[in-house]
């Protein structure tokens, strides 16, 4: 099934499948603009250096050679900047580095010189059609073109790996090179959670799908209001309350947290939980009946 989200699974030679996050046009356009800027700055630097050289060393005929060299450097820079950068810096240019994206092969492998050359040369076709500025304003000399990038955009939208024409031909894709590295395991501070988890039956084993659901719930519950948490958690815990013989008015959110705690954080070797002020309370339905037998059970 074609996934809605923009990840692509890659199988490594170690036979592990991992996911890459694809980079769309809104990440790639800034990267391209930064690259254009970087190229202009390099060009300005080259011209400056050549000009200084020409000024410092007065030698007959040198200036024309410098001019020729400037032309050549300009040519190399405009046409092979991306190729050189990507093949040397492992799929990154300056703009890609700044935007945190990288070019890899569609098999997840590294990009080689041939592929980098293909995808960078074909960029000319990707940026088509070009608007010629002197059609709008006669004062502008007819050398300034404004690339529209429609072809690249259309193929990026139409292909599953968000490839432009150059990527299609070279067999590459651009992925997000994540750099924020926090390792999330939700901490649970509420003392009631530990207390409640000690009442969970010891023989209850959590299934894999249940564990996944619990982890997602524990990670996301911070974004929900208390009412919404209860509403979601109640649907998941109704049959568990019956099974554990807990009282009906127990907070479902608390129960979900304690299940999470039991599964992910608690370990048997640790000493029994200090219940403190909560020692007298019990969530079990039979304890409720013993403590105040006349109170009817609240209907949920």
């Amino acid at each position: 099934m074609a996934a809605l989200d923009t990840t692509i699974a890659v199988v490594t030679p170690e036979n592990i499948a991992f996911d890459y996050q694809l980079a769309g046009p809104f990440r790639r356009l800034p990267a391209y603009l930064i690259d254009v800027l970087a190229r202009w700055m390099m060009l300005a630097l080259i011209v400056l250096v050549m000009w200084l050289l020409g000024g410092l060393i007065s030698f007959a005929g040198l200036s024309s050679y410098l001019l020729a060299a400037t032309f050549l450097l300009y040519f190399v820079l405009t046409n092979f900047y991306g190729t050189l950068m990507e093949s040397h810096f492992n799929g990154k240019t300056i703009g890609k580095w700044a935007c945190g994206i990288r070019v890899v092969g569609i098999d997840g492998g590294p990009i080689d010189v041939g592929r980098a050359l293909l995808r960078n040369l074909i960029r000319v076709a990707d940026l088509a059609p070009y608007a010629v500025l002197n059609q709008v304003n006669d004062d502008v000399p007819p050398i300034f073109f404004l690339p529209m990038g429609i072809f690249g955009l259309i193929t990026m939208i139409c292909t599953r790996r968000m490839q432009r024409l150059g990527d299609l031909a070279a067999g590459t894709m651009v992925i997000v090179d994540e750099r924020n590295w926090d390792l999330p395991l939700t901490r649970i501070e509420d003392p009631r959670v530990a207390a409640l988890s000690s009442y969970l039956p010891q023989d209850y084993r959590i299934s894999r799908s249940m564990a996944r659901t619990l982890a997602v719930y524990a990670e996301r519950r911070h974004y929900l209001t208390p009412m919404r948490r209860r509403e979601i958690a109640r649907k998941l815990t109704t049959h568990l309350i019956d099974r554990f013989e807990f009282r009906r008015d127990i907070d479902p959110d608390l129960l979900m947290q304690s299940l999470y705690y039991k599964n992910f954080l608690w370990e048997p070797s640790r000493e029994p939980i200090d219940l403190g002020a909560l020692a007298g309370f019990s969530p079990l339905a039979k304890d409720v009946a013993e403590a105040n037998p006349r109170v009817p059970e609240p209907s949920s």
Binding site: T12, G61, A68, F71, L121, L168, W181, P184, R208
Partner: protein
């Protein structure tokens, strides 16, 4: 053992792997971080061990019941280490020799796109040259194609003699900087033809337009009584064969990619396009090699005050070389061990 404990234990190694990744991203080797067991070969093997361990953790994530946040962390960690372990390859000279001297001529000889592009380029070039040359039969052809201003500018450009005893330095200067410009300009045409090839029609247009324009210029300069005519041919003869062939070849490589859209041979269109691009790489490599040869010729021989005979000799020799390359090296061989389809034999 619970998940928190497991994570606590594994986390040490994951963070070590992250540190190694950091070092490799910055300097390309594992020597960062400063620890002695991260330097040199020990660092590489440590990195590989940690990477395999992280892979194993990811594979077992489901049965460890790791939370999804941790799993996505592991995905990113493995992806990051993967792209450092399998880095982009450096240039391998033996591969390039194989591509240039084995795959490219075979591919060029067998590829109909090369014939189409070459015929179109040189056909239009010759036609336009003849039309522009004979001003009596086809009056005003060169003016209309290139433009009167351009032609006058060109005459002016080649006005200075390439070699004479009195004004030697100045005119040599002029031609040296000009050759720099023309290397850039003509190679640019070739690269543009290649790039447009994926859309086919713009490629044919660019190729045809440049063939006609170049032909008209050549024809105009070859007319009797045009100033700078001698200097023009003095300048262009030596590098002409290399450069014009290279432009045609670049367009052919582009067209080869473009044909991938419709000549799918049973593949999906996108796979077929990629396959066509793989076939186009040797042709493009040959074109780049010719451009480089042309650039050297243009830089050192064309603007030099060598006699015209030597330059013409060089042009003939280079034409012979190209023919040898295309026909002798390219003639289909009966060796079944090596694939001719360019799918990477080396």
């Amino acid at each position: 053992m619970n998940v928190a404990n497991l994570l606590e234990k594994r986390r040490v190694q994951w963070q070590e792997l992250e540190k190694l990744c950091d070092a490799m991203e910055v300097s390309g080797r594992t020597a960062g971080g400063g620890a002695s067991h991260h330097r040199g070969g020990a660092g590489v093997s440590r990195f590989a061990t940690l990477y395999r361990a992280a892979c194993a953790d990811l594979a077992l994530a489901d049965s460890y019941q790791l939370p999804p946040g941790t799993v996505s962390y592991l995905h990113r960690l493995v992806a990051r280490a993967h792209s450092q372990l399998y880095r982009s390859g450096r240039l391998n000279p033996s591969t390039w020799v194989d591509i240039l001297f084995y795959q490219a001529p075979q591919q060029i000889f067998a590829d109909p796109c090369v014939r189409v592009a070459t015929l179109m380029f040189f056909g239009l070039f010759t036609l336009s040259l003849l039309l522009a040359f004979n001003d009596d039969w086809f009056p005003g052809f060169a003016d209309r194609v290139v433009g009167q201003k351009q032609l006058e500018k060109m005459e002016e450009m080649y006005d200075q003699p390439l070699f004479s005893m009195d004004s030697r330095t100045s005119s040599l200067d002029h031609y040296v900087s000009m050759s720099g410009f023309y290397i850039m300009h003509n190679t640019g045409i070739g690269l543009r033809c290649f790039a447009w090839g994926i859309l086919i029609i713009p490629c044919l247009f660019t190729l045809g337009y440049n063939a006609v324009a170049l032909g008209a210029m050549f024809g105009y300069m070859a007319r009797e009584g045009v100033e700078g005519s001698d200097n023009f041919f003095h300048f262009v003869t030596a590098h002409g064969p290399f450069e014009l062939t290279a432009i045609a070849l670049a367009a052919a490589a582009g067209l080869r990619i473009g044909t991938g859209w419709f000549a799918t041979e049973g593949l999906t269109r996108i796979d077929s396009l990629r396959q066509a691009a793989v076939k186009a790489v040797p042709i493009m490599a040959a074109s780049v090699a010719l451009f480089i040869l042309a650039a050297f010729t243009e830089g050192f021989i064309s603007p030099s005050p060598l006699p015209y005979l030597l330059k013409a000799g060089w042009a003939i020799a280079s034409s012979g070389l190209i023919s040898f390359y295309f026909v002798v090296l390219g003639f289909p061989r009966q060796t079944p061990t090596r694939a001719v389809d360019g799918t990477g034999t080396a």
